[in-house]
């Protein structure tokens, strides 16, 4: 009987995090540890030009003199940066596959299990109109719809490929929003980043389909350091989505990504994230450390950027997608749902730096804490002297489930001019017993009721997601809160 119960428990855990399987493929790994040779190894594997290797080396030197930040409200044992692999690639095809036929079938199977369509005909047959770049451990394994997009002049490819094919663009913009010296994790990323997506939307082009990247960590003990760079040239428009999953493992794995968005005059980038990295088990064993730097520079007049994030995974999330509103009349938006359950910790929020005249920003952050988890909203709104007539509206709502979790709100506001307006509203609430009973009296189970109520609480944010992903995100909200009541 004990064995039967164990099996049942096992199955249940697997059910909870259904992306927690491991794909058995041969991997090509760099030796463990971090030093100049490893960085040279990565750069060589990618066949990079010398300017990029130099840039990586500068970042590495800088990193050696940096201290890991400790101001966030998260706690974890000291990370041994020498005890991880910094490069892992599926063995077939060192420089990435030429077409899907070259991709290891095991990997294709993995993406199929994840529900990510890599065959274009499958996509065309389905409802989703999405071009996908799939990154498996350290390399991009497939990018779909490349040709259809290139007809519009749109570049959508792995960043390692962009370095070779479009060096002028990469060199001009890489590190221009998040410099290599920015912060401990971003600097580490600059030294060792392996792959990620590159997007360029030419002047005046409205990208005809959703672009998306799916990241998956597969190899054990491997850090994932991807770097995404998106440039929206004048008057262009694009919607981009990233999704992430990882196998269930007992050890913690580091994910330190950097995302840079460059938005020129009258351009518009909508960047959505559904983050579902493995969160660890009920007792806080394992899970991903998601330490990510995301920043957008609204460089031109009337430019706009909108971040939407649904953060349900990871053992620890440390992430503040930010907007530098440099161009006059530029607009920055941040819509966030952060759900923590069991022992998860999330310290997330945004920075809105208003530089230009008449710039505006809006922050809607919803934090849901359950189990013994801790969730913190941390945000900065800064009105610089020239940001005349600029405005910000911030709304932070926290929802608590149970008695052992915590929710914290840490808003920083700095205004250096008289004409700027900053508004901040915050609420903290609990799921009321009478709400649960009302739902249950209507036949809805307790778990479904929690999912329904939480989805209602997050509605303002979820409705910002592209249609194709809103339904998935709603389900994810329910799944990530399973076992949080009763």
């Amino acid at each position: 009987m004990v064995a039967v119960k164990e099996t049942l428990d096992q199955v249940q855990t697997v059910e909870k995090y259904k992306y927690g399987f491991v794909t058995d493929i041969e991997a090509d790994q760099a030796p463990k540890g971090l030093n100049e040779d490893i960085i040279r190894f990565i750069s060589k594997k990618k066949d990079e030009p010398s300017w990029l290797l130099d840039w990586r080396m500068k970042a590495y030197e800088h990193w050696l003199g940096m201290k890991e930040p400790d101001w966030a409200k998260v706690g974890y044992p000291k990370i041994d940066y020498q005890d991880a692999f910094y490069y892992s690639a599926p063995k077939s095809g060192d420089d990435g596959p030429e077409s899907l036929d070259d991709v290891d079938p095991e990997i294709l199977e993995t993406y199929k299990k994840l529900g990510i369509p890599l065959h274009e005909q499958e996509v065309l047959a389905g409802v989703k109109n999405v071009a996908v770049d799939a990154v498996f451990d350290s390399v991009s394994v497939a990018t779909t719809f490349k040709e259809a997009l290139s007809k519009e002049g749109i570049i959508f490819c792995p960043i390692s490929e962009a370095v070779k094919d479009h060096p002028e663009l990469v060199r001009k913009y890489l590190g221009s929003v998040v410099p290599y010296s920015d912060n401990f994790f971003a600097t580490l990323n600059s030294a060792v980043f392996t792959d990620g997506s590159f997007v360029y939307i030419p002047k005046g082009v409205d990208c005809p389909m959703e672009l998306s990247t799916y990241f998956r960590i597969n190899a054990s003990n491997t850090g994932q350091f991807e770097r995404t760079l998106i440039i929206a040239d004048e008057g262009s428009k694009v919607s981009y989505l990233e999704g992430c999953t990882a196998p269930m493992r007992d050890e913690n794995q580091l994910h330190a990504a950097v995302v840079e968005l460059v938005v020129l005059g009258d351009a518009d980038i909508k960047y959505s994230t559904v983050q579902n990295w493995y969160p660890g088990d009920e007792n806080g064993v394992g899970g991903i450390y998601n330490f990510v730097t995301k920043r957008a520079a609204c460089r031109g007049k009337n430019s706009k950027v909108s971040w939407t994030q649904v953060e349900t995974g990871s053992a620890i999330t440390w992430k503040y997608p930010s907007c530098i509103l440099q161009g006059d009349n530029s607009v920055g938006e941040f819509y966030s749902v952060a759900i923590t359950n069991n022992c998860q910790q999330a310290d997330t929020g945004t920075k809105m730096i208003h530089l230009g005249k008449n710039t505006s920003s809006k922050i809607i952050a919803k934090g849901i804490s359950a189990g013994r988890s801790q969730s913190t909203y941390r945000g900065l709104v800064k009105m610089m002297p020239k940001a005349e007539e600029s405005r910000n509206y911030t709304q932070c709502d926290s929802l608590l489930i149970g008695k052992k979790c915590g929710a914290h709100t840490v808003p920083y506001i700095e205004s250096r001019n008289q004409s700027a307006k900053v508004e901040h509203e915050a609420t903290t609430s609990k799921i009321a017993d009478d709400q649960l009973f009302y739902c249950r009296q209507r036949g809805i189970s307790e778990e479904d009721a929690v999912a329904l109520i939480v989805n209602g609480f997050c509605r303002d944010v979820l409705q910002e997601l592209p249609m194709e992903f809103a339904v998935e995100a709603q389900k994810l909200v329910g799944i990530s809160l399973e076992g949080s009541v009763g």
Binding site: D434, F437, Y438, C439, R442, G456, D460
Partner: protein
């Protein structure tokens, strides 16, 4: 179909129901009237399975099953519906989504195929048409910003879509003006059928002008102290509840 025997219920240390007996047959409409604090709402919560109401003695048999063993959602699946005196707000959840979640949960429990979005839309529009409720209500968040009358009409709509076997209406007339009372009363009456029993809990006779009961009970100090036909309600309206409190004292 419902048989309550010698029901004793405590809320905390206080005994609220003290040996209540009640029998309802299929298709009958029973009214329970009584003064404030008699235990009317307690009865509705015990029937629907709300936590915090401890049954210390007695039994409730519903369609031959022991009701007290069932979780609230199971009771709903078995066909028990409670129209709340104070319907609860659920911000951000549209009435349409809420109804769909409820109806599909109950259909699943009963072994029926769940409705997809289109099927449900068609189904719910038929019901709103019968009850003369505007589809606008479906788009609004559950009970959020609803007037007293709208809340009660939404309860009647929920009752219609969930198609209960036993509907318990807890002070459905509270907070309603005369016009709203008539509309809600007519809505409930439209849902009367030979397969559906109703337990109408009310303080005043006025609701019973619209929902004509087959049997009227008087609940006082935790017990049924009198039972009669609809004329009993009219007498109560005239004479008040005082004679019962004296009888008990």
């Amino acid at each position: 179909m419902l048989e309550i025997n010698n029901l004793h219920v405590n809320v905390g240390e206080t005994q609220i129901l003290k040996g209540l007996n009640l029998k309802i047959n299929s298709g009958e409409v029973h009214a329970i009237m009584g003064p404030n604090g008699a235990g009317k709402s307690t009865l509705s919560y015990v029937l629907s399975g709300r936590a915090g109401y401890e049954v210390t003695e007695g039994t409730i048999s519903y369609q031959g099953k022991n009701l007290l063993d069932m979780e609230p959602e199971k009771r709903a699946g078995e066909g028990i519906f409670l129209a709340f005196q104070y319907p609860v707000e659920i911000p951000g959840v549209s009435t349409m989504n809420f109804l769909k979640a409820a109806v599909n949960s109950v259909r699943k429990y009963r072994g029926d195929k769940e409705f997809d979005a289109m099927e449900f839309l068609k189904f719910v529009r038929e019901q709103t048409k019968i009850l003369n409720i505007s589809d606008d209500m479906l788009k609004r968040a559950v009970n959020v910003g609803f007037s007293g009358g709208e809340k009660k009409r939404a309860e009647v709509l929920q009752m219609a879509v969930l198609d209960p076997i036993l509907a318990v209406l807890d002070e459905t007339d509270s907070g309603l003006d005369v016009d709203a009372l008539r509309i809600v009363g007519e809505g409930v009456t439209a849902l009367r059928s030979s397969k559906r029993s109703m337990l109408v809990i009310t303080h005043y006779q006025r609701l019973l002008d619209y929902i004509i009961p087959d049997v009227v009970h008087v609940l006082s100090s935790g017990k049924i102290v009198d039972t009669g036909d609809k004329n009993l309600a009219l007498e109560l309206e005239k004479n008040g509840y005082e004679i019962y409190s004296e009888a008990v004292a």
